[in-house]
Symmetry: C2
Subunit: 418 residues, 2 copies
């Protein structure tokens, strides 16, 4: 069996009434970041300038959203230093305030996307920054998009060549073999870089937008120096009005799509509903899942999706845990639900033909498959797996964590078993 | 005290192991829709045509996102019939398939936005439609934007005059006094109408987009008949390429912003952390809340927000229930967390100055305020309220439900008390 990343670690929480009653928290893969995002400092260009130039600072390079990975340390990302990335990002992209940046906006200038990810407060060395009586200490982390483009195309190509000549490569495909902490750092970098890349224009007015707030906001500037030479301009650089410039608009902020994923248990409490898509390998099943729709609760979304995909009617729904999923911007909200007895448990794939099959599986069969039948989608099952047996997703998937909780007594067992 | 809507009703779930263990489900205001959205029929223009013209069909009119409300039945929306809205929407906006609509796209034509909300399967009369062996029966519901605009400006104005002349008015301000079922229908209508109105342009390429899939999708058409006369057009109606036309892009689908809201209990289990904003009335507090950020779990978002806003460090987090909140597109994910003893419980407002104050309140004080101190934000507290006492949000707010659960034993009590 291909080596899987360590089980997602429970949060190192203190003993508390909540953890005694509900069990320890399940921390799913891509969560558990070691960074304090200090989001309130993203608009402070003095802080960003200090962070950018500090010797402790780590730069994660991404090319087409793929990160540099360590050639020697398994499961680790490879970080560079300021001197390495300077030819791409320039002396200091944070030299001006946000207001100044907006005033100097020129849509013809390509600026490589950077994200300030946060500070590692446990690092031995780091910046020390005072803000409103509080002092923040830690090693700063940035992500930099080095996909060769625009005016920095050659600088990116040169940097990529220097790095790959040393045997340091960008990962390929889905990055699922990092340690928990590194996976969480990459997830933040990937989701923000991708959001910026997907949204170069304002959805409210169609004009190009500018990345601000250290990569966490896109704004629609009222002027654009690129218009000076344009014949469509009426008043030098002024652009047509845009509603997003008044008050606060969600269009300016990163998008995250809430998704439901659910282990549905039958009313008798001994079977679990799993489904499969036709593109999956034979015998491979997982919990049902789908996007939450506008204006429904998560509990309703669980019931709707299970009805649409499998025809099964669900009663009580309990939310189990959540998982960030940066492909591209999902928030997986994991739930356990129990079906309504009788006709409500009859499987019907005829409403929405998304699934190739859906079936009720005995807990025992799922328990066995969790031991011997898990792997990544493109990988072989473990050595104990017997051909024809049930195959399931690996521990990095919240589906696996939900099934594990259910067969270990989430529905009927003691609270300590959650 | 102004009359409050009925307490959100628990889901009418069957007795199940899950509900015995975790208690009945809390259904928050704006959830609990009586409609089956039958989302898999949104792309079927034969079904939509049938639904549009059926005598059982209900049309909810919105002007600037405000719905028509019943002048006689408190808490009810007022619906119109096809004949009423025909002058605005035309004979049949679903006469063509999605492919045909995209082929005929003309960005100069204003089409009043419509949303297919679903079918009420419990209505006495309704459509009957067969799709892939399954039969769907129910009274269809549509939302129609009648804000006077474009080529239908006059038709909208006339319809509005006819209706208001009868004493039927559009609501004003936040609509918080509908019954649970009506509130859920309105939430769906509002969030979808608003999303379409906010996103007339493609964020990937800046070109205008077209509403399809009965209001649940916006697509970036490859051609635009409005370009024929344009000098910028190179090949008749063809538009520049757009990445959203290849595969599936989340930009084409409605956006929902996940938000965390949390009742934080101290380690000893007898106090709850509440905060207030400066714009609120004196003595008014609520649970802390904030947007989830990209690539963090809900549990992490809870810990981050509480740290940022109040300086308190939280350990175990348990998700309690969720609430759709259509102002404009939030999904409130309600959680209970417990703080880490010692310095972790010290309040510090100095990180992110969002709150005017944050304090630990004894359960007893909160319990009393839940009895006598709740109301809508602009309203007076109840008759039992004594000046200077704690004031809290009404039962329609998930904050109220979280606090109620906590003082009734969510953290330490028996499961039946949840």
């Amino acid at each position: 069996m291909p080596e899987q990343p360590a089980n997602p670690q429970p949060v190192p929480d203190h003993d508390s009434m909540l953890s005694r009653k509900f069990g320890r928290e399940v921390a799913n893969y891509f969560s558990g970041s070691p960074l304090n995002r200090v989001g309130f400092l993203r608009g402070d260009n003095k802080f960003l300038t200090l962070a950018l130039h500090h010797p402790s600072t780590q730069f994660l390079l991404c090319k087409d959203l793929q990160p540099l990975v360590s050639p020697t340390q398994k499961g680790k990302l490879h970080y560079l230093k300021y001197a390495d990335v300077k030819p791409v990002i320039g002396e200091n992209p944070y030299a001006t305030t946000e207001t100044e940046m907006i005033g100097m906006y020129n849509s013809n200038t390509y600026v490589p996307q950077m994200i300030f990810l946060g500070i590692d407060e446990k690092a031995k060395e780091g910046v020390e920054y005072e803000n409103k009586k509080n002092i923040y200490r830690g090693a700063p982390y940035f992500a930099v998009d080095v996909t060769p483009k625009g005016g920095v195309k050659e600088a990116c190509e040169e940097l990529i060549k220097t790095v790959t000549d040393k045997g340091i490569e960008f990962s390929k495909g889905r990055v699922m073999d990092l340690t928990s902490a590194q996976a969480a750092i990459y997830a933040e970098a990937r989701q923000l870089l991708d959001w910026n890349a997907r949204n170069p224009f304002c959805a409210a007015c169609g004009q190009p937008t500018l990345s601000v707030n250290a990569g966490f906001k896109r704004t629609c500037p009222p002027r654009d120096l690129a218009r000076t030479a344009s014949k469509t301009s009426t008043d030098e650089n002024e652009r047509p009005p845009c509603v997003t410039r008044k008050g606060i608009s969600n269009l300016c902020f990163p998008r995250t799509d809430p998704t439901v994923i659910m282990a549905i248990v039958n009313h008798a409490g001994d079977k679990i509903l799993l489904g499969r898509q036709s593109r999956w390998p034979p015998h491979w099943y997982s919990t049902l899942a789908g996007f939450a729709e506008p204006a429904e609760s998560i509990e309703e979304a669980v019931r709707r999706e299970v009805y649409e995909e499998a025809g099964v009617h669900v009663g009580r729904v309990v939310i189990h845990s959540t998982q960030p999923w940066p492909y591209p911007a999902n928030l997986m909200i994991g739930a356990v639900g129990q079906s309504i007895p009788g006709d409500g448990e009859k499987i019907d794939l005829g409403n929405d033909p998304e699934l190739d099959d859906a079936r009720w599986f005995d807990f025992d069969e799922v328990r066995e498959a969790l031991k011997v039948g898990t792997s990544g989608l493109g990988e072989d099952a473990g050595p104990g797996y017997k051909e024809g047996g049930l195959r399931l997703p690996p521990t990095t998937a919240i589906a696996n964590q939900l099934m594990t909780s259910v067969v270990n007594g989430f529905v009927s067992g003691g609270m300590e078993k959650l």
